[in-house]
Every structure is written in C-alpha cells, then in structure tokens.
Symmetry: C2
Subunit: 307 residues, 2 copies
Amino acid sequence: MSKLVIVGTVAFDAIETPFGKTDKILGGAATFIGLAASQFNVDGAIVSIVGGDFPKEDLKMLEEKGMDISGLEVVEDGKTFFWSGKYHNDMNTRDTLITDLNVLADFNPIVPENYRDAEVVMLGNLHPLVQLSVIEQMDSPKLIVLDTMNFWMDSALEELMSVIAKVDVITINDEEARQLSGEYSLVKAAHKIMEMGPEYVVIKKGEHGALLFSDDDVFFAPALPLEEVFDPTGAGDTFAGGFTGYLAKTGDYSYNNMKNAIINGSALASFCVEKFGPERLLKLSNSEVHQRLQQFKSLTQFDIKLT
Amino acid sequence: MSKLVIVGTVAFDAIETPFGKTDKILGGAATFIGLAASQFNVDGAIVSIVGGDFPKEDLKMLEEKGMDISGLEVVEDGKTFFWSGKYHNDMNTRDTLITDLNVLADFNPIVPENYRDAEVVMLGNLHPLVQLSVIEQMDSPKLIVLDTMNFWMDSALEELMSVIAKVDVITINDEEARQLSGEYSLVKAAHKIMEMGPEYVVIKKGEHGALLFSDDDVFFAPALPLEEVFDPTGAGDTFAGGFTGYLAKTGDYSYNNMKNAIINGSALASFCVEKFGPERLLKLSNSEVHQRLQQFKSLTQFDIKLT
C-alpha cells in the first residue's frame, strides 16, 4: 500500500440536468478523487482549500473515508470555491453558469510533511502553477498523474506544458487531446502528447469509454452502458481517483496493471453518474463495486482461441 | 459449417473523402458482406442484381472468394446501382451526392434452390419488401440477421416493422436505434427494439464500437483505434459479414459465441476503412486477420481477479 497525494478543488456545486437541479452541494475534483480512492482504503491526503462556510461534517466525512486533511486549508473568513452548471439534453455538453474562485484565488498548496514521501501523486484539475508547486514539494514520487482541461490550454499553456513535461500519466478528454496536440486522430494525438513528456496518455471519451496509450500499445475500457446518466459531474475525477487509488493500493505501476486501474476507474465512474454530485459514492459498498467489476468483465471479455 | 445467404446491393460507388476521391469502383452491401464472410471459407450465396455494365472480372472475383452467384441476376441491358457520396472532415458524417437505383428499381430476389436450406441469412440494407421476400423463400433458417437504416424508417416503416418482427438479430447504428425506438438511452432503445421481435440487438457506434444486447446482458466491442480512417464506406456491411460469416462457420448461435462473432466483425471492419471501397478486403491474408484479432485481445482483455 503506497501513500497517495491528491491536489484539487474542494468545492460547492449547483447542478442542473434534465432530471432536476440541486442547491449548493459538495463537489470539487479532489472530493471525487478522494472518495473514489477511498474505496481502496489507501493512505491518502487531500491538498486543497475551503472557506469558513464549508460544513465541518463534510471535513469529518472525508477523514472518516480515510483521507488526511491536514493539507486542506480552511480560511475561516473566506468563501469556498463555487461552480454552477447546466447540462444539455444529451448530457455530453454543459454550460458553466457561475465560477466563483473565492479562496481558490490565493491558494498556496502545502503537502503535509508526512506525505512528501508518497509514491503516487494525483494532480486534479487546477491552475498548472498549483500543480507544479505540489510536484516540487514531493521527494521522489514513483507515479505522477495529471488531469487538466482546455481552460488551462487557453489561459496558461506555457505553465501547463511545464507540468506535462514532469508527469508520468496525463488524463485528458478527447476534444482536449485534439486541441493540445493539433491532431484529429486520437492515436496520433496520444503519440504527440507522449512526446511532451508523459509515458502514458489516458484519453477519456465520456460515455464512449477511455483509451490508455503507452509506446505502441493501446488499451480500451468502455463506459458501462446505463439506462440513464443522471449527473455526469465528477465522473472524470472519480475515474482518476479509482485509477490512482488502485495503483497506490497495488504499488504496481506497470502498463498491465494500469489496464486494471482503468477498469476500476471506469467502474467507480459508472456509480458516480447515477445520482447528483458525490451522493452515490458516499454510500458505496465493497460488494456493489465487486459486482460492477464483474459486469465490466461480462461486458468486455470474450473467448476467441488464438494460437 | 453452415450455408449463408446474403441479400444486398452489388453496386458502383464513387467516394470522396478528405484523403482523395475515386471514380466508379466496386461497392454495395452484399459485396462487403460477402468479402468479409469469405474470410471464414463459408458456403455463401449472394442474392442481388447488376446491369450489363458490371465487370465480368468482379463476378469472377466473387466466385473465386467462394460466393455462389447463381442468385446474382445480370440484366444485360440495364445499369448497375450507383451511389456517390462525400465524407465530411470528421469521417462520421457524409452527404449522398447521387443515388441511381437503375436495375435495383425492379429487383425481385431469387434465392437459389440449393441455398433455401441455409441456416444463416444476412439481410443487407435494401427495401424491406425485398428482405421479406428472401425470408419467405427460406425453409427454416436458424438465424436471420437484419441490417437496415433510417431511409427505410422514413419511407417504408410498416414494411420494415414486419421484417423486424421476423428476424433474430438486428444491426443498426446508434442514431437509427434512437429513431426507431424513440429512446435516447441506447440501453432503453435496445430493449424497446427487442420487444419488436429480435432476440439480439447490435448497435453500431462507428469509431466508438458496437454493443450487443440480449435480455439483460450486454457486450461491447471497441473499434480498433486507427491512425487514419481512410474511407468508412462499407465498414458496417463488413462488420455484418464478419459477424454472420463467423456464426455460419461455427454453427453456434449462442450469445457467448455472438461475442466472438462481434469481435471478428470489428476486426474485419478495421481493415475495410484502411483503403477505398473493398480494396483492402480483396487482399487480406489469414495471418493479417489473426494478428488483428490478437490486437483486439490486447486492446480489451484485462486480468482483475474476482472471486
């Protein structure tokens, strides 16, 4: 069992989907990553920042899930980062209605002393300079995983490129991979991104699954076909949390084990979308996860004999 | 080894893609289906119609691939069906430029006497009444597979529904499944379509793979991630030909074997798109197919131990 450092937002979200809408509920990349990783009972720490308005019971909940929150700064006279969005009918696209950075505007991440020797670092979607600062505080991690998005390509490309150069794995969605590489073909895009630094490139295609590239190898994990996607918020972060949580638990960072990690990430993401925000992840039993992994086996495994 | 009856167009296509354009080349659903099925050395018959302008060497080629063409009518003073289309830059959408039905306008399909006892029937995309006529000429096939498209939903829905009620498997693309069922969720769409007759529903998602539904089971085969899709024309038909060819070869029409059939169909379709029209299928060796099936294993198979 390796230690896992998670940096990302801990936030309030207000979400509207064709199925309903929420008031401010718990959200944020680090929240979803942490909750997903907690399924593997990893020794994880969340590095983030919230305001005095952030509920103490949510802090306690994260601790009870096994997350060290000594690096989760609480600014008593500040307000927690708030995002509000509305999904279109196809659930694949959304409009951002509100982004209030609040305390996040002056976030200076501090990795707790006893987590600087962690083997695995998960850099959730945040300003590249924050991600860079976390990398610099680590002793010698064996695996650094970066999640990012087009917003940083548009606003802080140079800083983002310097982070990309330092990580082992990047997770990125298909349109963003195209933007970053200038290639339409995802195969070509992945290879161009590998040249920027990462040995492994994970391209997330939402309901169409995820691809893992390394050298000339490629592995594909489908998303579980669901009757309804209720709320996609946090699915990508949950995927990243399942991916890194599984890798930290097993301590095996080989390509073959990353395949298993991707399947675990996809399985957890398939729960995330079933309810608003992290609601479904908060009440997730081991046996439910086990059963879903079995579904992924039935969904993908076949028996063609090849000699 | 079971006999396979294939009905569908044998045609000329003129294709334009971002990579180039062709004059009139060999095309048609039954052509692609037959070429794909021929990889399994099945005892297949093509039921179709062409004009006197159709090259004798192409007829000979189909025979050399093991296809019985006694049900492939040649109307010496007629012209062969001609389709012309232009693909957009994303290769997922296309405009039809020309559709000249020619001899297809008066096509009365005749299944050769010695193929009326065939176990497997592949109804390629054509007017539902032609498909219905073929079904009626068969003795007691064990597996009838239907491919269709939105054009028939718009123009001959009643006739199409009566064909759908008589088949075991329907292959249909995602948007068409949504149109036919009125459901956006592909899981819900598949279950509604099963209620129309077929025990198995295959939903083709192009570059995003294919889903096989039966009862509450679902299996997914990805498309092989390719550096370039050169020309998607015929990929769906090639998939159908690989699917039915494999099933006819093995004589096993179980759900589990259909998984293998879908992978074989996907593997052959991945070759089809590498060159214009059926060019790549015409020069395809057993060892190339074997190697590609191995790639599909690497792409999808993982090793999570579940008890």
